[in-house]
């Protein structure tokens, strides 16, 4: 029955949606990236790869590219450490752990715009709760979001705290799928808790590592919402990511062609990271089995 070819028309509506709203824009984005279009007037001329060459010498793009990697890699590292630690803690039977899990997970469901707004209040120079603590400890008020380095660190921490719940539940599911007999057998053989962690837990969590790392890295590399709310890319262009820079070039600088080129580069970065990591993790999985 399933050899019937006519079942295939069922995916035609979905493919039509993708063709119009995803594939066509992606192709058109590449074409626009080869022009000097300003975004609204009908005139545009073909300038070849000029936009890409221009990017190489553009310090603003250089900063945004560096920041994008900091946002991506910084958040990924923080979330793996915190997520795994929290999952290990939750894996022990403790009273109140389902409440702790629910609260730690809660920010995942809230818009990053809302989390950014609420954290902005906390980091506010004059009214912020954090500066109240600094002053109470005898220090001077700090302009947390006015310094590029501090602001980038804060954005990484806010993004990591918001989505640490995802890593936590992925690792918890991974931990709970490890058969307890492995631990029992190793205990009989006299293994220490650390030896068990390194010899059993870490290798058997491999699929969870793969899932969580890929997910967090993509999320961090395309970071947009939190930056827009907390610093709007400033001071200057110092906290800009590739995503925020695209909207700024397009809507504020009327450089639609250039913005498209930055978009194509962002897409390529994410594609290379995703495919690269998936290949790496799949190969390791084969070696383990």
């Amino acid at each position: 029955m399933f050899a019937r070819r006519r079942a295939n028309w069922l995916y035609v509506p979905a493919l039509a949606v993708f063709a119009l709203f995803t594939v066509y824009p992606l192709v058109n984005g590449f074409i626009l990236s080869l022009t000097n279009w300003n975004g609204y007037s009908p005139g545009r001329s073909f300038i070849g790869l000029d936009n890409y060459v221009r990017m190489l010498g553009d310090p603003i793009v250089g900063t945004a590219l560096g920041n994008t990697f900091i946002y991506g890699i910084g958040s990924t590292v923080l979330q793996q450490i915190m997520g795994l630690a929290l999952a290990l803690a939750l894996d022990r039977a403790i009273r109140g752990r389902s409440i702790a899990r629910a609260i730690i997970y809660l920010p995942v469901l809230v818009s990053p715009v809302v989390m950014g707004t609420m954290y902005y209040l906390l980091f506010s120079y004059r009214y912020g709760g954090l500066n109240d603590i600094v002053v109470a400890l005898g220090g001077e008020r700090v302009a947390w979001l006015s310094d590029a380095g501090t602001a980038i660190t804060i954005i990484v921490i806010v993004n990591s705290l918001q989505f640490v719940g995802i890593s936590m539940v992925i690792y918890l599911a991974g931990l709970q799928s490890i058969p307890t007999v492995y631990y029992e057998a190793s205990r009989v053989d006299g293994a220490s808790a650390w030896q068990q962690f390194v010899g059993i837990t870490v290798p058997l969590l491999q699929p969870a590592f793969a899932t969580s790392i890929v997910l967090n890295l993509i999320g961090g590399l395309k970071l947009f919402d939190v930056i827009r709310v907390m610093t709007a890319g400033g001071p200057g262009y110092s906290t800009e990511s590739m995503s925020t820079l695209i909207s700024r070039f397009y809507f504020d600088n009327q450089s639609a062609g250039y913005a498209s080129a930055v978009g194509i580069v962002l897409f390529l970065i994410i594609a290379v990271f995703t495919l690269g990591l998936n290949t790496l993790f799949n190969r390791r999985r084969l070696e383990l089995s």
Binding site: A7, G96, S111, L121, I170, S247, F267
Partner: protein
């Protein structure tokens, strides 16, 4: 030793939970105080509860209207994503041909495209189609960005269903569509719950495209509304905090009622 570990684990979890509640607490105390009250954000209001900020958030910020717009777009796109996703997944799960494998891999590949990377062409397309400031325009983009994950989840789930039930239905003379609607779709409830949760959370919170597509306050959804209101209320943080808190309420209620499904659904959705 193991007792010590247990205490440390409990303390660590309690600390993490407290840290996660800090932004909500700070927003709450800020929203309940007048602008003239310069007491610390850590202190609850002492001179009674002040609700003026919430009035400003509703009347000047239009936050309730924004919640309505978010609800319309979320329901419409979630419904479309479930139906289109399940339909598309069926031949991809059941007819294992080279062509279908390529189509499937192509759809999964679409998950990698960051929304901002195609901002210029998507915005241009929406201008040409007249989709700026319309519910359908935003819904179309939400469907396009969330549908790949839905197809993937439905296809994975369908591959795990026994094919013999469908074969029996065909033996009894059922056509393709009646097999689908009477036999296959009723078995998809668990995966549909996952798709609904993942999709509605993403769409409800979406900002990166909505902020550009929905520019008029009449149609703007919650996330862009909060961001715009916040930017315009630089001196009145209390009203911004009130708006942020109000926008979270619907999602919070859903989470409290359906917490078990939320976490389970998110885990299933991430294992792709």
């Amino acid at each position: 030793m193991s007792r010590l570990w247990r205490v440390a684990a409990g303390a660590g979890l309690a600390l993490a939970a407290l840290v996660q509640l800090v932004p909500f607490y700070v927003a709450l105390t800020t929203s309940l105080k007048p602008r003239t009250d310069l007491s610390s954000q850590w202190v609850l209001p002492t001179s009674g509860i002040y609700l003026e900020n919430f009035r400003i958030a509703v009347e000047d910020g239009g936050i309730l209207r924004a919640i309505g717009s978010s609800a319309i777009i979320t329901v419409a796109s979630t419904a479309l994503i479930c139906v289109l996703g399940a339909l598309a997944a069926y031949p991809l799960a059941r007819r294992d041909t080279l062509g279908n494998r390529i189509v499937f891999a192509g759809i999964i590949g679409l998950i990698m495209i960051p929304p901002l990377s195609i901002l210029v062409p998507v915005y241009t397309l929406m201008v040409q189609l007249g989709g700026i400031n319309t519910y359908w325009g935003a819904t179309a983009l939400m469907v396009a960005t969330q549908l790949p994950l839905s197809v993937f989840l439905y296809a994975s789930f369908m591959r795990g269903l026994p094919i013999s039930i469908e074969e029996a239905a065909v033996m009894d003379g059922a056509g393709l569509l009646s097999t689908l609607f009477r036999v296959v779709f009723p078995m998809l409830k668990p995966v549909t719950a996952t798709v609904i949760i993942l999709t509605s959370v993403s769409v409800w919170n979406e900002y990166a495209l909505s902020v550009f597509i929905l520019r008029s306050p009449d149609v703007r959804t919650t996330a862009p509304t909060i961001a715009t209101f916040f930017a315009s209320q630089g001196s009145n943080l209390g009203a911004a905090a009130a708006a942020a808190l109000l926008s979270v309420v619907p999602m919070l209620v859903a989470y409290l009622v359906l917490q078990r499904y939320f976490i389970k659904g998110m885990v299933a959705g991430s294992e792709k």
